[in-house]
């Protein structure tokens, strides 16, 4: 299926027609509701809170925030930002309870520091990876977004952003930008490797007695495997490049030659060793 991100910028793609289709499709509504509930579970809010909904669209996710049952810590008050006027128009017609802003999240988050308890974003931040004009760059927009988000959350606050990266480059670009802004970041992947795999970027702001990263968030959740990629990434960074003439280099060359179909001497413990001095 083609990606809407590749077709048009979000404010133009979600015109009246697309916004209506998006909001009335029961399939999309179900997926959105599932993802919002999962995000709420990750946020783990204990009492009615002030939440920022980034890319709120027609308020499908916000509605769930308003309807959260009192025993689960709800109902929450939310503020939504979206760039598509048509989507916000649909939200108005549906009479959602949250406050709506027509704003571009790539231009920053215009709120006072420490305003929100939490932030959620459902299927929105991958749009930041596209620059629509030559005077902005995806990196710059991501930077402004995450810096603004970091500032607007209170200490100990969390943000959960579900997004659809196009490829690994986008995925690491987004998580890298979040880490640079100061967040403790981690990825949670539901149903990895399947067609309906969902990726959540879980961001934590330090302080407030929380364990500083995603491990503190998923602590006590069922069916979550923790994979720490940081050590592996360090190893890759620290690995010495094979120097010309040393054993690793010789082995690499021999493999290359073998693949080309050349006759290569077999490997032994003597491969790549120096000869002893003649005298």
């Amino acid at each position: 299926m083609s990606r809407p991100e590749d077709i048009l910028p979000p404010d133009l793609f979600y015109n009246d027609n697309e916004s209506r289709k998006y909001t009335t499709s029961s399939r999309i509504r179900n997926i959105q509701a599932d993802m919002t509930n999962r995000a709420l579970e990750l946020l783990d809010l204990k009492s009615p809170s002030m939440i920022l909904d980034v890319g709120c669209g027609s308020g499908l996710s916000g509605e769930i925030l308003s309807q959260e049952a009192p025993e689960d810590g709800g109902p929450h008050t939310w503020v939504g930002m979206d760039i598509s006027p048509s989507m916000l128009d649909v939200a108005l017609q549906r009479e959602v309870e949250g406050d709506l802003f027509l704003a571009d999240i790539g231009q920053g988050i215009p709120f006072r520091p420490g305003s929100f308890d939490a932030a959620i974003s459902i299927s929105a931040i991958q749009w930041l990876c596209n620059a629509e004009s030559s005077d902005v760059s995806p990196e710059g927009r991501l930077k402004r977004f995450f810096e603004g988000l970091y500032a607007s959350l209170r200490r100990g606050g969390r943000a959960v952003c579900q997004f659809y990266p196009k490829n690994d480059i986008q995925r690491s670009m987004i998580s890298g930008a979040a880490i640079k802004a100061g967040f403790g970041a981690g990825m949670l992947e539901d149903d990895p490797g399947t067609k309906n795999g969902k990726l959540y970027l879980v961001l934590t702001v330090g302080g407030g007695g929380l364990q500083g990263d995603i491990r503190g968030v998923v602590n006590g959740m069922d069916d979550v495997d923790v994979l720490d990629a940081r050590k592996k990434a360090m190893e890759v960074n620290n690995a010495r490049p094979a120097r010309k003439g040393d054993r690793a280099w010789i082995m690499k060359k021999k493999e290359q030659m073998e693949r080309k179909g050349k006759v290569v001497k077999h490997n032994s413990k003597y491969t790549g060793r120096k000869r002893r001095t003649a005298f």
Partner: protein, 126 residues
């Protein structure tokens, strides 16, 4: 836009981030509407420490509300149900439907239509 949101929002222009006059944004030609919402004392107690009381006094004054007490209700005062109800009425049930928000520093006007504030900036201000 609810009054509580107006107490959190600042000017989106980069230069205004450091200026103290960019908060609160000033309401002009505001049309108000009351919208009944469920009273949640817990939410008010949770959010009160984050409210900028000076800013709220300015906003309430601009919207034509009777003046608020000089200091923020804290501790004991938050146990009083009437105080919380008044705050709930002002912060959550009062909505600005039409009007303008103007930054005290750069003078940029953010138009509010049908309760939605337009915070899109032209590219030269980003």
């Amino acid at each position: 836009m609810k009054v509580i949101t107006a107490n959190f929002v600042t000017c989106a222009v980069k230069e205004c981030k450091t200026s103290p006059t960019s908060f609160p944004l000033h309401f002009h030609d505001a049309e108000l509407e009351m919208q009944e919402l469920d009273f949640q004392p817990e939410f008010i107690r949770n959010v009160i420490p984050r409210i900028d009381w000076e800013g709220l006094r300015v906003t309430a004054n601009e919207l034509g509300f009777p003046s608020l007490p000089e200091s923020k209700p804290e501790g004991e005062a938050l146990g009083d149900e009437q105080t919380l109800k008044d705050l709930h009425r002002l912060l959550l049930e009062t909505q600005v439907m039409e009007g303008k928000l103007i930054c005290g520093n750069c003078g940029h006007e953010y138009v509010i239509k049908e309760g939605i504030a337009n915070f899109l900036l032209p590219s030269h201000l980003v």
